[in-house]
Amino acid sequence: MDDKPQINAVRQLENGDLERFNGEAWEPYLDIEHDPGDWPLGLARGDDRP
């Protein structure tokens, strides 16, 4: 019988930390950093035209 958790299942460790199942393994659930430099680059309409 396959006891593999569902993807994005969560569990709380004894110390209170949270883990998420990513489909293959449990990993710590981290906060997203709010860094404007992370935003994707892109071309605006008209940037490719003279």
Binding site: I7, N8, A9, V10, Q12, G16, L18, R20, N22, G23, Y29, D31, I32, E33, H34, D35, P36, G37, D38, W39, P40, L41, G42, L43, A44, R45, D47
Partner: protein
């Protein structure tokens, strides 16, 4: 290139106010589709309008008429196939996070997952990772409700708060991703329509050749 940048007062502009939306490409893609539709419509009109006129007086007997009919049918089938496929480009697709899991968007996912840092920075390591926060919040909420120990329940509550903050921070990137997926679907439909147009041209050519042979013999 356009990147989020501080305004004159040094304040970082909101994400959505600075990042160009991929949706800006949609009008251009649909304009291309309309041009193709117009071209095939003109061919269809010429065949329907001109074919019978040319055939008048040159078709003798049932066999010739049948041959002309078949040839016109083949040619118009080519036009119809092209119009049908190209018109699908004009249909607005429905794009949700579930759409990202469909085979049609595999190419986009692979492109992003090859270099997630270019698309998501430190916010996520893959498309699935970016989209995980809502499901995680739901699972945390369920776990919190089923927890009987007040202290552990309070810890779940703090985790839920973190997950909700993550949802808020991922939301602009999710919106950008869905917009990109939306455009990707339309672009894929246009690309596929072009191949169908080639087939349509072949059918039009075959039908026209058959038509000329029958009417030429007459």
């Amino acid at each position: 290139m356009t990147t989020p940048a501080p305004d004159d007062s040094g304040t970082i502009l909101p994400f959505d106010a600075t990042l160009p939306s991929p949706l800006e490409a949609v009008p251009d893609l649909r304009a291309a589709a309309r041009w193709i539709l117009a071209a095939f419509g003109a061919v269809g009109a010429a065949l329907i309008g001109g074919g019978p006129l040319v055939a008048v007086g040159r078709v003798h007997g049932v066999a010739d008429a049948f041959g002309v009919g078949i040839a016109l049918f083949v040619a118009l089938t080519g036009v119809s196939i092209a119009i049908w496929r190209v018109s699908r480009v004009l249909e607005p697709p429905i794009t949700t996070p579930a759409t990202l899991a469909t085979p049609a968007l595999r190419g986009l996912r692979e492109m992003i997952d090859r270099s997630p840092a270019d698309f998501f920075g430190t916010a996520a390591t893959s498309v699935d990772d970016l989209l995980s926060h809502r499901a995680v919040a739901v699972n945390i909420h369920r776990a919190m409700l089923s927890e009987s120990d007040p202290s552990r329940r309070e810890v779940w509550r703090r985790h839920l708060k973190r997950a909700r903050v993550n949802i808020a921070r991922a939301a602009p990137l999710e919106r950008w991703l869905l917009a990109m997926a939306h455009v990707y679907q339309i672009q894929a439909a246009l690309r596929a329509a072009r191949y169908w147009c080639l087939m349509g041209v072949a059918l039009v050519a075959a039908g026209t050749a058959g038509f000329l042979i029958v009417t030429g013999n007459g």
